[in-house]
Symmetry: C2
Subunit: 452 residues, 2 copies
């Protein structure tokens, strides 16, 4: 009996020595799940700060919040990186009504798209349904001129990965106003880029192109879009709407950065999410989750006394939502300073269950990451496929084309119920799923630091 | 250009012919995600029926609900299978208070465990903390006799799969009263088997053993358990509690069954979940989800005109929660009727994101199922490991030891926030995740029917 016990012990000991990575990652998960701080950090970011669009008072407070929190953990360097950002505000008026030919009236809950111009008073007009941006030509200028275009492309529900459904209709939000203006439309209303049929409108970034008249653009909920479609099937529909959203002068803002200095060299592994959010809800999933994932990841590695080879740099990027000047400036400054960037990792797909990492790199880099598949399977991470990394870190690749980039893959099924909507609040995030995201991020940083 | 197009078409055509399984499963998912009925079926089961403990009026109505719904889909055989079931009721009184030595009083929200005897009026006594069932001996009869045992074993948060955490402390619910009675305790209070720290008590089955005095047993929320622990750290704590729960005479009830008759033979593939639930909440995740997964799976296969080799039998089992007489009787009747059972599949782990199937079978059977790993990876199903099938179908294996059994694996992170608690309501289920579960079930039934 004693002999068996000793043999078992010997085996376990050998086994342990054979899998130091597995043992260390187990410690990361234990700390994250038992004594994790990311959930309470997210509560604070959502409740003490709230929605924090670039240029707002809340965004300024979020910078202080992030800086103070990272300082409290005692990292080697905690600092602000100055950047220039746009400043757009929704304003105080946002109201819409639809009417049919008999004069029947109904409230239309409009939500200005981020970056839209205002209506300059009450804007009135007939609505013309255009199923998608690519249908503008088919509908023709004669039917669009002087009217308000309603783009109604819905999510393709058959996509298993909901980001694909989003990608297939995001042009109506980003490009719809500019494209409709070319057909002389007066304004644009879009069906929200949302997964479910509900009452919440979803905002998000749009842009104007040089030389094209700037017309107002707003989103309506999927329920309202269905109602509007039904009204339009029965005859003419007119809208009255007013929005006083506008741009102010550009401002100075900051990325917030904390580091664990490399013990072996100055090469840098960047990881982060974005600190700004849209101006409704609390930016809990987008991207409060990515912020607390990243802060927790570096806290976990420090707490476990990890001896890092390269410099581990946690970045809370500003202004991802409407301009990405945080990400672009970070990349430019890195290049100017001749920093050596070997890897960047982003979390910007919500606080739901993490399932793996999308790999943006060469086939050899993809293979290098995939070697850890078996190791990470025990932690229910299984997806390690070539894919997109993230908006904030993507500009680095222009300056460092040989670097590896990773985007944390997260169960996407519920994400577009909350994305850019008033529903994206702290209560929609599950504690354990958030903690697993933090641990997954710390684990991949550890593996990349050891391997690269 | 035209040549390239023709070659592409040829390639696609060949590719399609090479993967008929993949194409058919794609159709299953399309139908489930675009025209699925499981979500509205679950709404009806939760809202039109509600909680449906075995023996209740709601359980009787749920049988009619299931039978009518399956008949409306026009399957070959829809019938009720008579079984004998226990009948336990919570009663109308469930109240508790704690007091310290200074007479400070606080409400204790107790929830009788399923199967507990009542208190026969107000039961009073001093509480003794016992960390887990295995600690009874250490605490000793001298400290337990005449007192009320408080079992306080929490979930091990480091378990990635939360069912392992549940399994490690379920004995305090199932066995606590019997074991504590052997030490002459007067009653038992347990810390709820719950993942999160919140205000909801979780019920669940307990049992008494022949020849041991039957003492009352109740659960309290994790928040109350922490409060009680804190009070106990400061001095003696006394409880007053009353519950009038009790057993009534056994009753006749039914499993509800629908079939698609096999075209090639009489061999049977059974799949299902359980129709009964506990008597609080709405039994949405446990196991309304499994019920509508199973009904939708057979509806999808019929809708797509699937030509099934074996008989596909959808079973809505009664009485899984407190006795499993549905599952046991189903197995006995199958054996008596000399039916040929080759495979059984169960969904009883909630309506969250499906991630794979646990395989209960021989190594050859495990390998057979695992051959579909790559095919199902496109649908984000990746876990196909040896494991446990399900409570309802497990008894079949006593009669058919060579059969294959599968248990649908579902993201477990949130399950024990809802399990057996008043929070387990329709609103806690996401439409798409539920639909993906139905499609996954239909896909695996299809693959097993083709392969076995």
């Amino acid at each position: 009996m004693k002999k068996i016990f000793s043999l078992t012990l010997l085996f376990l000991t050998l086994h342990s020595f054979a899998n130091p990575d597995s043992l260390f990652i187990r410690k990361i998960y234990d700390e994250a799940l038992v004594s994790g701080q990311c959930y309470e950090n997210l509560r604070s970011l959502c409740k003490d700060i709230g929605a924090r669009i670039t240029g707002s008072a809340e965004a300024k407070m979020a910078i202080k919040w992030g800086h103070d929190l990272l300082e409290s953990y005692g990292f080697d360097n905690v600092y602000l990186q100055e950047i220039k950002v746009p400043h757009w505000e929704r304003g105080t008026t946002e109201a819409g009504w639809i009417m049919n030919e008999s004069g029947k009236l109904s409230k239309l809950n409009i939500l200005a798209l981020g970056g839209s111009v205002g209506t300059e008073g009450l804007l009135e007009g007939e609505i013309v349904l255009v199923e998608s941006v690519s249908d503008l030509e088919k509908v023709g200028k004669e039917n669009i001129k002087g009217k308000i275009v309603f783009f109604n492309k819905p999510f393709d529900q058959t996509q298993i990965n909901t980001f694909k459904a989003y990608g297939a209709c995001v042009d109506q939000r980003w490009d719809g106003a500019t494209k409709a203006a070319l057909y002389e439309a007066k304004a644009v209303i879009i069906r929200s880029l949302a997964q479910s049929t509900d009452d919440h409108a979803h905002t998000g970034s749009m842009h104007y192109e040089e030389g094209v008249i700037q017309i107002p653009a707003a989103a309506i909920s999927t329920v309202d879009a269905d109602k509007l479609t039904e009204w339009l099937s029965k005859g003419k529909v007119f809208v009255k709407m007013e929005m006083d959203c506008r741009y102010y002068a550009d401002e100075i803002s900051y990325n917030v950065i904390a580091e664990m200095t490399g013990h072996e060299d100055d090469k840098i592994i960047t990881f982060g999410g974005h600190l700004d959010s849209w101006d409704i809800g609390e930016g809990a999933h987008d991207d409060g989750a990515g912020i607390v994932h990243s802060i927790e990841a570096i806290r976990l590695l420090k707490k476990l006394n990890y001896y890092n080879n390269h410099t581990l740099r946690c970045v809370l990027f500003m202004n991802e939502e409407n301009g990405n000047f945080g990400g672009k400036s970070y990349a430019e400054i890195a290049s100017e300073n001749k920093e050596q960037h070997i890897c960047a990792i982003e979390s910007d797909r919500g606080g739901f269950l993490p399932i793996g990492f999308d790999i943006q790199g060469t086939p050899a880099q993809v293979e290098m990451v995939q070697q850890f598949r078996d190791l990470l399977f025990d932690f229910e991470l299984y997806k390690f496929e070539p894919g997109y990394s993230g908006v904030d870190i993507r500009p680095l690749m222009q300056h460092y084309p040989d670097m590896l980039q990773l985007g944390m893959v997260i169960n996407s099924q519920e994400y577009f119920d909350y994305h850019h909507a008033e529903t994206d609040v702290f209560e929609s995030v599950n504690k354990r799923e958030l903690e697993l995201g933090s641990a997954a991020m710390a684990a991949i940083i550890y593996l990349m630091d050891k391997t690269l």
